[in-house]
């Protein structure tokens, strides 16, 4: 496994890696020109479908299949939104791709637009990535100047315009229908689905939303083919008819208490332990890991006994986590308090809930207030059951909310309390020896808020 040669990250360290000149010196845009000339949109969609590529933005939905949900023979326009809102705590691989190799992302986007017959693409970029903004804009300008974008590209009859659109620091804009609403100029309130964006998306038109890394994979599939893609990663589990497999390379973001935090490319299915040891240089300061977030904070927690978890689309689920998510692995060493972790997680979701659904808006803020109280030595054992009640009842899965943010808020609560209950109970008894058994309603403490 250590023999794996990076593909998506192959050129990110090179000087001027963000320029068209360097990109084309590695054969960049040859696939774009070939596909425009020799493939039909349907034909290229079929290739991506065959590859088994699954979306890298969090949900792992098969990319080619998503494209076929667009209405056939639609008069247009069809829109493509590249989801570059990357805000899941622990995640930064899209940043590296866009900043260091924006043309790879653009070529993937252009190929995806061709396959879906989209003639306008918006790149919804989170505000906090000014470096990506500059390099993407430069790359787009270079493409127009080189005749790779614009009207009737290379006499193919295909026209494509790409625009950058800047977000305003809200996590919910990463949810695809929140993104669409935000792009339309409204508050980013996710939409009830159906209708799915493929049928009625931005500006009321059929729309595809894909992640930045997904686009980069599309470009690599166009270059190297389906067989290459399927030679990497994990095949579908024969015992699970619903497993679509986990093919291809993946950009794992490793952070927290490791010696060498960073973005590492490895075949899907590498285990958490392998990632930490072979890429991250081990847990920092010679310590042991106590818990690990497997795929961004929304995915929940693995305990130290669960670190042989394979990081493919079905791995983390087998350990009670929500899923692979963004494959952002955050390591916590033995000194970390899980109470502290959960406080941080609840703070994030309380802050980022868009407020549209009552169970999410109230649930996330109650959970945060309870954690604040527990952390400050006023917790009761009863609070743990209340927290679990919230965790079990907010989200798309229990059917109480419009979008998956609430599921992402619930999972850390459920995993942390169920896997580390003793620690929570010890903390509560130790810090609140007088009141830990109380069950009457209590006031919340004031919490600090800004931004």
């Amino acid at each position: 496994m250590t023999e794996f040669n990076p593909v998506l990250l192959a050129h990110v360290e090179e000087p001027e890696s963000h320029t068209l000149k360097v990109y084309q010196s590695h054969g960049g845009y040859a696939s774009w020109q070939r596909v425009l000339r020799d493939e039909t949109p349907g034909g290229f969609t079929e290739i991506v479908k065959q590859s088994g590529l699954r979306g890298r933005g969090g949900a792992g939905f098969p990319t080619g299949l998503k494209w076929t949900f667009l209405p056939q023979d639609h008069p247009g326009p069809i829109y493509f939104c590249l989801n570059a809102d990357e805000s899941e705590p622990g995640t930064f691989n899209n940043r590296i791709l866009m900043e260091q190799d924006p043309h790879q992302v653009l070529e993937g986007l252009m190929l995806s637009c061709y396959a879906t017959r989209a003639s306008t693409a918006y790149i919804y970029l989170r505000y906090e990535y000014p470096g990506c903004w500059d390099h993407l804009q430069l790359a787009i300008d270079e493409c127009y100047a080189a005749g790779l974008l614009g009207t009737n590209i290379q006499d193919s009859g295909f026209t494509l315009d790409v625009y950058l659109h800047r977000g305003a620091a809200a996590y919910i804009c990463g949810e695809e229908t929140g993104l669409i609403e935000s792009l339309e100029g409204k508050r980013a309130w996710p939409r009830i689905k159906p209708p799915f964006p493929a049928v009625e998306g931005v500006f009321g038109k059929p729309t595809v939303v894909n992640n930045v890394e997904t686009a980069a994979c599309v470009k690599q599939i166009a270059d190297r083919g389906v067989e290459w893609f399927q030679s990497i990663g994990a095949a579908p589990d024969p015992d699970n008819p619903r497993d679509a497999g986990s093919y291809g390379p993946k950009l794992y973001c490793l952070s927290g208490h490791v010696e060498r935090p960073g973005c590492y490319e490895a075949p899907l299915g590498i285990t958490v332990n392998e990632l930490i040891e072979q890429y991250g240089g081990g847990v920092w300061k010679g310590r042991r890991a106590k818990a690990v977030i497997p795929g961004g904070i929304s995915m929940g927690l693995l305990s130290s006994e669960e670190l042989d978890c394979p990081l493919d689309f079905s791995g983390p689920g087998k350990f009670g986590c929500l899923g692979l998510g963004t494959a952002a692995v955050v390591v916590m060493d033995e000194t970390v308090s899980i109470v502290d972790f959960l406080h941080n997680s609840c703070q994030f979701f309380a802050h980022e809930s868009c407020g549209q659904c009552t169970p999410c808006r109230e649930g996330t803020s109650w959970a945060f207030k309870m954690l604040e109280r527990i952390r400050r030595g006023r917790g009761r054992l009863h609070d743990l059951d209340l927290l679990l009640e919230i965790g079990d009842n907010i989200g798309i899965m229990p059917g109480t909310t419009i979008c998956g943010l609430a599921d992402g808020a619930a999972w850390p609560i459920k995993n942390a309390i169920r896997k580390f209950r003793d620690e929570f109970e010890d903390h509560i008894k130790r810090t609140n020896p007088e009141g830990f058994q109380e069950t009457d309603p209590v006031f919340s403490l004031e919490v600090l808020e800004s931004h």
Binding site: Y127, E128, A169, Y171, G185, G256
Partner: protein, 186 residues
């Protein structure tokens, strides 16, 4: 007067009425958007099938220049985009990003408080920065040079703990680098 207006505004359910009130407040004042801003905003129309989609870009444009988007600017943007001011105001207030009424400092520093930074000591560093600047998170120094705010994950967890100040990422913060940062503000 201002407070009275705020109360009416908060209780007001109808976008038309809010729009009317905003117009009323703004009436008779000088325009806030410069000709350059207006033409920059108009130049974006061709990119989107609706003018409303230019809301965020327009707000960004104004915010970049004024470090806030005053209500008067909201009304002027609404006029340009053929919207009710309340629609623009609704979008603006959804995003905690935009300041209104009072500009943020010349430098706006966002200290990440999400998990990867938290694990590497972000809390202490934020406290240190606030101590050095003599303000609380969310506040601006008296000389108007610095605003310190929390941020959620800045997407730079490989450089945790980190801070985005203006357009510049400050990676792997330490007390010393915070000292240097505060000093660089003069």
């Amino acid at each position: 007067m201002c407070f009275g207006f705020f109360v009416v505004f908060r209780q007001c359910q109808s976008p038309e009425l809010v729009g009317f009130l905003l117009l009323f407040v703004v009436n008779g004042m000088d325009r806030v958007l410069t000709d350059e801003m207006v033409s920059e905003i108009k130049a974006l129309f061709a990119r989107y099938p609706t003018k409303q989609a230019v809301t965020l870009p327009a707000l960004h444009l104004v915010h970049r220049e004024l470090r806030q988007v005053p209500l008067e600017a909201v009304v002027e943007i609404a006029e340009l985009l053929e919207l009710a001011p309340a629609q623009v105001q609704d979008t603006l207030t959804f995003y905690g990003f935009f300041h209104q009424g009072k500009p943020h400092g010349q430098t706006r520093a966002w200290v990440c408080r999400s998990i990867s930074c938290h694990l590497r000591g972000a809390d202490n560093l934020l406290e240190h920065l606030c101590d050095r600047a003599g303000i609380q998170p969310g506040q601006t120094t008296e000389d108007g040079k610095l605003t310190v705010e929390f941020a959620e994950c800045l997407g730079a967890c490989d450089f945790a703990p980190c801070m985005l100040a203006g357009e510049k990422l400050h990676p792997c913060l330490t007390k010393e680098s915070i000292e240097d940062f505060v000093e660089s503000l003069g």
